[in-house]
Symmetry: C2
Subunit: 359 residues, 2 copies
Amino acid sequence: MRYCVIMCGGVGSRFWPFSREEKPKQFLDFFGSGRSLLQLTFDRVLEVVPAERVLLVTNRRYAPMIREQLPEVPAENILLEPARRNTAPCICWAAHHIKALDPDASIVTLPSDHLVLKEKAFHEALRRGFEFVEAGDRLLTLGICPTSPQTGYGYIQQGDEVAGTADFYKVRSFTEKPNLELAQVFLSSGEFYWNAGIFLWRADAILKAFEEHDPETAQIFNAGNDLYATPGEMEFINEYFDTAPSNSIDYAIMEKARNVYVETVDLGWSDLGSWKALYDSSPHDANGNVTQKCRVMQHDCSGTIFATDNPQQIIVASGLENYVVADAGNALLICPIAEEQRIRQVVNDIKERFGEGYV
Amino acid sequence: MRYCVIMCGGVGSRFWPFSREEKPKQFLDFFGSGRSLLQLTFDRVLEVVPAERVLLVTNRRYAPMIREQLPEVPAENILLEPARRNTAPCICWAAHHIKALDPDASIVTLPSDHLVLKEKAFHEALRRGFEFVEAGDRLLTLGICPTSPQTGYGYIQQGDEVAGTADFYKVRSFTEKPNLELAQVFLSSGEFYWNAGIFLWRADAILKAFEEHDPETAQIFNAGNDLYATPGEMEFINEYFDTAPSNSIDYAIMEKARNVYVETVDLGWSDLGSWKALYDSSPHDANGNVTQKCRVMQHDCSGTIFATDNPQQIIVASGLENYVVADAGNALLICPIAEEQRIRQVVNDIKERFGEGYV
């Protein structure tokens, strides 16, 4: 049967002061729609995978928030990591858990905090992707048709098309975030796609890949083979999970395996990984400003995103060009969008100087 | 005996969003010192005039705030105006009230929301001023030795020195706020002083001046002559105060009378009438930034004033030059200091578009 794993343990410090360690980005109602990004992600997959086969993997500190936001998810579908170890251990555990429930399972694994505007295309892509991986020992990643030379994304280069399919290709290479010049080359080549971090595979295929390409992690989780989906599972995880090396699935598996494929799709997708990405994904006013859930009276501002956590807040601004203005809780951020990569560092500095209360 | 009248009915909309109609500037603890500007003004005059002879004139909507901030002031010393009519009617009423208490009274009348850094010089100036006006039928205003070509102040031009005194001059002219060029001429001439709105006179002298130069106002308040400082006073005021024309004391009396003198003083004074004035009066960090009661982590900011109403607030700012950043209650202001004269208009616009909740 088909399963879905939503990864929702990230911190998302780039959206400080909106996202805080206690309430990361995926739990925020980013667009004022009444649903958090996690809830939107959950809603979105239900068309393809029924609720009882949707699993959430997260850090255990976020368990209460998940139960609050998704009361319809049964407790046994929430896998609580006792430590942060990036995506590889998370995915390995989830695959073991699901394989114990159903040895023939296929899985879509995806982040909880991305934006997808084209829901129908998304559903279609997942259905076709499931069919593709269920036909064999294949690891599939979704590649988003790029619309601009983004430097914030990893890229996937397509290889040969898979015979008898449309839009499925062997992966030639994965590339880390490029500089602008390279991103422009990628875009114009027509061969490169954004790596959305959405993966499909059979449970047995990904576990086999771990044994081949990340034997250390494979060995740790294989030791629990008799315990997955039993009452002994959490005790095992709590004891051994943090012995797994912290690693991304891209680095541990995808960049090494030979049976890796890309399904190229157009989903109206953004990883919302930065204020710039949020700015790009939001409706603009005549001056190219974006207003998130607040009242703004601006004069002589352009290319600026205004966001507050209080819909009753008014912002009066003048003379800002390409800025982020984000007012949330006890913190106010005013900085050029181009400098937002510094936010993570600033958040660390604040923690050091002023303690945990601001991060 | 010597009396003091503190005028504290103003609205101070230029300091929005800090000052609100419900809590104007004089009631705010501007410098985080633990005392509001009004309280600081009250404290400051006690060296010269005892508390029981300090009167407060204000709009009646602010009575609860005054009682809260100055519980030591007896109720009968608070004169509650039933309407806003600028300074002339306020001063006329207060003079009548005080003359009824003491026909020989002399009075210092001053605003409640200014900054005075040199307290000793202030006390000395008042004592010498009292002596000067008690010697005759004289209207005295304090003239502040200017330290820069401020365009936000009115100026007083000195005439001949009064024989047998130091620093007391006939007033040659009053000048409205000049443009920068003219302000520079004023400054270099050495003849012009900032008009601080601090006045001294005998009660009978100012009332005589009203009869000569503002007979309409004089007539209105003369009608209550039997009632001042009696239980019938407020009934009279509540019925007739709002029939007085709205007018400033400068325009009604000072610019017309011939017996007007200026005492030139150096008080470390600012009217705190604008963010620029507050900026100028506050300690600067190495980058020329001013921080009011909040934590700021700035990068590449200069000449900027940061202010919040929450001492626990942190502001992270980058790339702002000569800005005001003011976050208070449900409103956030970010604008170039040079544009602050627009704030009053913006506040009006907000009131029109979004209602009273923001002003």
